[in-house]
């Protein structure tokens, strides 16, 4: 009896703790967003964050996309050849990349790079009083540190995914034409024939949401961190873990919403 009560209480604590964090993060996000419409604006910091996310993530996202496209072509060819449907390889590649793998893989890569970097940077500022110093220097720390980063993430990820889409298809085309014996023109034709605008756009919407979540969680974890270098380390880890899980969960939810019949 006692033990079940203990268990219930422990479970209750976990649930309440979880809900409390969700609420706190929602308020944090709302405040960050509210600064989008309240001057002054820190355009320089937005630009810096945008370049950091879009430009410096380009190599890793590009590599991931090319290899994923190549693997997709190989694997789907093996699968489809078992019931003589090899012709569908190009379709499968382009749909998987634009709808799912482009945004999800780019999201996960950026979560590792940017989520960690932002959490570490802002966390260090927190534990060395730099965030407190901002508010004594006529600068709102949310407006200065968080809003430009979140805006940059939300806008940069779709851009990265456009690149990932193109390179992913290219990877598939490379394997298709070089190894699987497709004619280049025919491969490309079947790539684009069955591709709808909605496929690409849904992927870009996902990307924007992922970019928002990654930067939000990175900033949040850093902002909340305490306890010296160890605290910053914890913040970094939790930012990456939380945003990776959220990307996968939100991917499912967004797919369900965007393609609801």
């Amino acid at each position: 009896m006692d033990r079940t009560l203990d268990l219930t209480a422990a479970l209750g604590r976990v649930v309440i703790g979880f809900l409390r964090s969700v609420g706190a993060i929602a308020i944090f996000a709302a405040e960050a967003i509210s600064h989008l419409v309240r001057p002054p604006f820190h355009g320089r910091l937005f630009l810096k964050a945008f370049i950091e996310i879009a430009w410096f993530s380009l190599p890793v996202v590009a590599l991931t996309a090319v290899f994923t496209g190549m693997v997709l072509a190989l694997q789907s060819y093996t699968g489809f050849s078992r019931f003589n449907a090899e012709g569908a390889v190009a379709n499968v590649v382009v749909l998987s990349i634009t709808r799912e793998l482009g945004p999800v893989l780019a999201g996960l890569m950026v979560a590792g790079r940017i989520g960690a970097a932002f959490a570490a940077e802002i966390g260090t500022m927190r534990v060395t009083d730099q965030i407190d110093a901002l508010s004594t220097l006529s600068t709102n720390p949310m407006k200065y540190l968080v809003t430009p980063r979140i805006l940059a993430g939300t806008l940069a990820l779709p851009l990265l995914v456009v690149v990932a889409d193109i390179l992913g298809v290219m990877g598939g085309w490379l394997i298709g034409t070089q190894q699987l014996g497709f004619a280049s023109g025919a491969y490309l034709k079947s790539t684009f024939d069955f591709l709808h605008a909605a496929d690409v756009i849904s992927g870009l919407i996902k990307a924007a949401v992922f970019g928002f979540v990654i930067t939000l969680m990175g900033c949040w974890a850093g902002y909340q961190s305490g306890g010296g270098a160890q605290g910053v380390g914890r913040a970094t880890t939790s930012a990456v873990v939380a945003s990776s899980i959220l990307i996968l969960a939100l991917d499912y939810i967004l797919t369900a919403i965007l393609f609801a019949r």
Partner: protein, 257 residues
């Protein structure tokens, strides 16, 4: 209105978890005067300053600045108040993503009182006041020694010529001569700019030089206040022990024997 204290603390209380740090701090700080706060390490001096700045919310008690209760201020009023306050943090808290000159002129730039071009010259001018060469302006804070960082922090705190300035251990980590120069600078802020200064220091010579008034905090309360000139011969056993740095006295360090 001239006898309204610039800053008035009443019953200021703050606990972190079960640890009570401030336990009813009452303190008046006179306008256009320099107040020195003394107290043992960990006695809550920095926390008191952060409460006044609004960086830490006290559990109980009131903080009035110019007769206005800061807890009742709107966010905009609070921001306007902070525009007039300068703070030197104990550890400097310099922005390591920005060069020194941008750190120094950060507030002026944020308030758009100066162009980026003019800020470099202004930074050189303020750096000179704290004994640093203009070339330091182009370095990053990570490239500075501890004492140089402290002085840049000081330059940043005074660059916007604030009305109220808090100095958390301004001379710790400086050589004696540079310490005296900084003390002179703090005195100038009060005498020439008419600012109200609140300094935390462990250095008694410096406390006597910069302070008009002094107060001692112990176990979360103000246990003494008086003139800073005769620290060490105040007649208060606690303050005198502290000022002379004696092991025996009413203040017992909690050391394991």
């Amino acid at each position: 209105m001239s006898d309204t204290p610039k800053i008035r603390l009443r019953g200021l209380t703050k606990a972190f978890g079960s640890k009570v740090v401030l336990d009813g701090v009452d303190l008046d700080i006179r306008a256009r005067h320099s107040m020195v706060i003394l107290g043992g390490s960990g006695s809550g001096k920095s926390v008191t300053l952060k409460c006044i700045l609004g960086l830490i919310t006290p559990d109980a008690g009131t903080i009035e600045i110019d007769g206005q209760d800061v807890a009742r201020m709107s966010r905009r009023e609070r921001e306007a108040l902070n525009d007039r306050i300068g703070m030197l943090f104990q550890n400097g808290a310099l922005f390591d993503s920005l060069p020194v000159w941008e750190n120094v002129c950060f507030k002026l730039l944020a308030q758009r009182r100066i162009s980026r071009r003019a800020a470099r010259d202004k930074a050189a001018e303020v750096l000179a006041q704290v004994g640093l060469a203009a070339s330091v302006g182009d370095l990053s804070p990570a490239e500075l020694s501890g004492g140089m960082q402290k002085r840049v922090g000081l330059a940043r705190a005074i660059a916007a010529e604030p009305d109220i300035i808090f100095f958390d251990e301004p001379t710790t980590g400086l050589d004696p001569i540079m310490g005296a120069v900084i003390d002179g600078l703090i005195v100038d802020c009060v005498e020439k700019l008419g600012a109200t200064a609140v300094s935390i220091t462990h250095d008694m010579a410096s406390a006597r030089r910069i302070g008009d008034d002094a107060a001692m905090i112990h176990k979360g309360r103000i246990v003494w206040r008086g003139g800073a000139a005769n620290l060490g011969e105040t007649g208060n056993a606690m303050v005198d022990q502290f000022a002379r740095g004696e092991r025996e006295g009413p203040i017992q360090m909690e050391l394991r024997k």
